[in-house]
């Protein structure tokens, strides 16, 4: 009996001790499956750092482009094996939230502010969290621009300049969440018609539309084309890796958080929570400053350890102040914007470039002639013409046509996506050809 009591006390004492020392993080173990659109530079670096702190967890990254990732989660929802979704574009998360594919989570980590720039860092409904902020801008290869005598571009409008013809590269919104955000930012900052006109004028100077967003920094890094429209961390990490490139934020840009969220019915919510807490902790935020990653942390304190000249959105309020990004608007017209860009730019790039080239030459040669100027203005208007208005683009029924699954039975689907794209394509091709003819006529004057 007497032997029993000290033993019992010891056991109780030890168990209390051990309970105190068990933090929620150390209890996480097992497999953590993350669907992500990020490149190995980011995923590998973060994964290694996370697994050091949580050795029991084995992280598995499923690499999918943002749109493919959304599709994947939608298709596997009845038999979900994914724990987290980790991507840049908040509108992608909105799409998932609407489909009821995300789980709520409240962050325990302190020190993360409410907003970055004008944008809330976390989803107000509590489904997804921001871990880094990103802006969109222009990167260029200094050797290339020096050799071809191109001026440094500072604003989107600069890229419309004839001197950049054939030197610019970008990806397409349908292939890259970050590119989609870039396109939306300008559309929201300048308005539907003016924004699209701006994009088409810039696209007239494109050398290529890359298959993935990574194709742009790669093209600029290797000197295939001189100027790229990219998300900030591509420019900054390329610079940090030693490539002769520069990056700049134009005025019309927005700082949008990059996010992660736990998927509904996730197999391993403990590990997922641990991952979120880690990446938002001071140690995790500092991993974002790694030269291979170079993203803007959301914890203001981390910037103390940032390299010199690293942009600080919490000190420099001008970055991203010009545009207040409306997530709901972006989400409503997500698929339509993708299709519009593809039909008008990506798949008709040759026609667009030819028309723009003719317009630029006409301006250079005969711009001062009033009759020619009138023709040139007409040509420009033809190129900028849009097949649908902003209101039509935001219409829910119209957007439903561009989904392959009808989410609600009440959404009427008139016609097929292929049919509508064909109509647009016909209109666009006719306009570009006519614009080219007009410009050539103006050149002759």
């Amino acid at each position: 009996m007497t032997k029993f009591i000290p033993a019992a006390f010891a056991a109780a004492f030890l168990s209390v001790l051990s309970m105190l020392s068990i933090s929620p993080a150390a209890a996480a173990s097992g497999k953590l499956v993350i669907v992500t659109s990020y490149p190995p530079d980011t995923t590998e670096t973060v994964k290694k750092a996370f697994e050091k702190v949580h050795p029991g967890v084995q992280v598995e990254m499923l690499k999918k482009k943002t749109t493919a990732g959304i599709k994947y989660l939608q298709e596997t929802q009845s038999n979900n094996t994914t724990d987290m979704f980790w991507a840049s574009a908040p509108d992608a998360f909105e799409v998932l939230k609407d489909d009821g594919l995300l789980a709520k989570y409240s962050v325990k980590q302190k020190g993360i502010p409410e907003k970055v720039g004008a944008f809330p860092i976390n989803d107000p409904d509590g489904y997804y969290k921001g871990f880094a902020a990103s802006g969109y801008g222009i990167m260029w290869n200094t050797r290339y621009t020096k050799a071809k005598k191109l001026p440094d571009a500072k604003e989107w409008a600069d890229l419309k300049n004839a001197v950049y013809h054939g030197h610019v590269g970008m990806s397409a919104p349908s292939r890259s969440g970050t590119t989609h955000l870039t396109v939306e930012t300008v559309l929201q900052g300048m308005g539907w018609d003016a924004g699209w006109a701006e994009w088409k004028s810039i696209a007239g100077n494109f050398k290529t539309v890359t298959e993935r967003s990574f194709g742009v920094p790669d093209g600029v890094n290797s000197g295939q084309f001189g100027v790229g429209i990219v998300i900030d961390f591509f420019g900054l990490s390329s610079q940090a890796s030693g490539f002769p490139v520069e990056f700049v934020y134009p005025t019309v840009t927005t700082l949008v958080p990059a996010n992660f969220a736990i998927v509904k019915n996730a197999p391993n919510t403990d590990a997922a929570s641990a991952f979120i807490e880690y990446l938002l902790s001071p140690a995790g935020q500092e991993v974002l400053l790694d030269p291979k990653i170079r993203r803007l942390p959301v914890n203001p304190a981390t910037y103390a350890n940032a390299p010199k000249d690293f942009p600080n959105p919490f000190k420099d309020k001008s970055i991203g102040a010009a545009v207040k990004f409306d997530l709901a608007l972006s989400k409503n017209r997500y698929n339509v914007v993708n299709s519009l860009f593809d039909v008008m730019v990506t798949y008709r790039l040759e026609d667009l470039v030819a028309a723009t080239s003719a317009i630029q030459m006409a301006e250079a040669k005969a711009g001062s002639n009033p009759a020619a100027a009138k023709l040139i203005a007409e040509a420009k208007a033809l190129v900028a013409k849009m097949p649908i208005t902003e209101a039509e683009a935001a219409d829910e029924g119209f957007n439903a046509i561009f989904k392959t699954k009808r989410k609600k039975a009440t959404t009427k689907v008139k016609g097929r996506q292929a049919e509508i794209e064909k109509e647009w394509d016909a209109m666009v091709v006719a306009n570009y050809t006519k614009a080219k003819q007009l410009a050539e006529k103006a050149m002759g004057m």
């Binding site: 530079d41 390329s238 030693g242």
Partner: protein, 573 residues
Amino acid sequence: MQSFAKGHSKAAWIAVALSIFLFVFLVLPIAKVIYVAFQDPHSGDFTLVNFADFFGAALFQQSFFNSFYVACMSVLLATIIALPLAYYTTRFNFKGAVLIQTLGFVPLIMPPFVGAVAMVLLLGDNGSVNLLLDEWFGFTIPFMSGLNGVILVESIHYFPFILINLSAALNNIDRAMEESAQNLGARGMRLFRRIVFPLAMPGYVAGAALVFIKVFDDIGTPLLLNINNMLAPQAYLRISSIGISDPMGYVISVILVAFSIFSLWVSLQAMRGKDYATVQKGGGGLSKRDMRPWEKTSCYAIIIIILIFVLSPHIGLTLLSFGTVWSFSVLPDGFTIAHYVTIFESASGYITNTLLYAGIAATADVVLGTAIAYIVLRTGIAGRKWLDYVSTGALAIPGVVLGIGYLRTFHDFQVPIIDKPLASWWVIIAIALTIRRLPYALRSCMAALQQISVALEEASENLGATKATTVRRIVVPLMAGGILAGFITSFATAAVELSATIMLVSQESDAPLAAGIYEFMQSSAGRGPGAALGMIAVLIVGLGTYLSHRVIERGKREREAVAIIAEEAKANV
């Protein structure tokens, strides 16, 4: 007689098992793809509307035209490269024949998509060559811009197919025919046009059709060169970004399969009934003569130019894998081994996966190949020819189509113990590789079995061995050379297969080498590690090809010895 009947029924069971395997993993997925292409996505009825959409959409019309154009131009350019080389080796006493033989093998060890990236750095619009040209002469040559890049990369990789076929065809022309034509007064061009060309045509057509189909179906090269408006990349992009329910991906698959089957049929038809050229005695090949001095210089000049182009992907890849920063300059800024270190640290997963998948695929291929060869050649089971046809038909199925078919057919099928859909389990990748490489392994095994005289097997059975024992102790050991060669070739080509794997890899930990290279090439921190991984892939394929070559050579010598023994055995009976 009793033992023969018993063995026959065992073989029948094996034949049934093989048929089921081929049906489930080859016929069914392809049938599913074709079915979905004709199915209305909303209502599920039979319809041609998907095809109407396809041919009505400008993008797809352009993709179709581009794929066709690129395939034809690749065949043309490959012919232009192969023709002088074949001409010099067959017409002249050329001491550099070994050099040409090497030229005919070096391109095949570099998978085209791996070399594509490196070639852009050397031959692109702002690549090394054009930077120098611009500096010295003020002009550039658009080697790699747009579709030209795809055409150049593909022709440099595939011209050996045409070279080998053309050389073989020219070597098989009976000298007697040429001599009689000359006796009747034909010379030079006329001789070539009326005698040499028609006789060499079938061999050429067979090789050209094969190159056409491989370029038409290739997905890796256009993707890495950022050319999206071609059929195969479009199928991949539609399925991966819009989903497996997108009908366009299936329509494209049907078109790819139709063209592939047609090209394959053309290739097989061309070689059928042309055996007469090889049977005749009297000295094979056209008469050779020595080269005049100016012919010698032009010959070497041409060969050196071709050599530079053929080696450009290899040179470029080596520079890229050792280079630090290579940006808008003729050569990288500096050199380092850091990329190889990165690879060995983080890419061991890719290499183990590749060894696993390729190993399983190659083993399965030689087992299946031997079984099918034996059933087709040695048994009388009804319908056995169809095993051969269906297995060879796998050649006509592009990798991307097989991948799409598997995704569609198996994504609902849950594997019992693993509790995962079959389409996401890594084993499906190994199965896809098995199916894709089976035709080659089958041909190896059939050729090996055809060389073995039936007399040997009959002798074994006369001494009391059962069919099974005969197969185990006599046939298979005699086939060993062919089996080994088939294994090595299957392994080496499966190790760098991209088209099917890129569709089927669902998580990074399952990715093999080719998918790993594709992933690494997407890094904004530089393509050095991707290039280093590519070099490893090239080494694997190169080693495999060399070993296979050695084994076949040794097997040939052994077979000759065995054939003599069999002849003597027959004579003594």
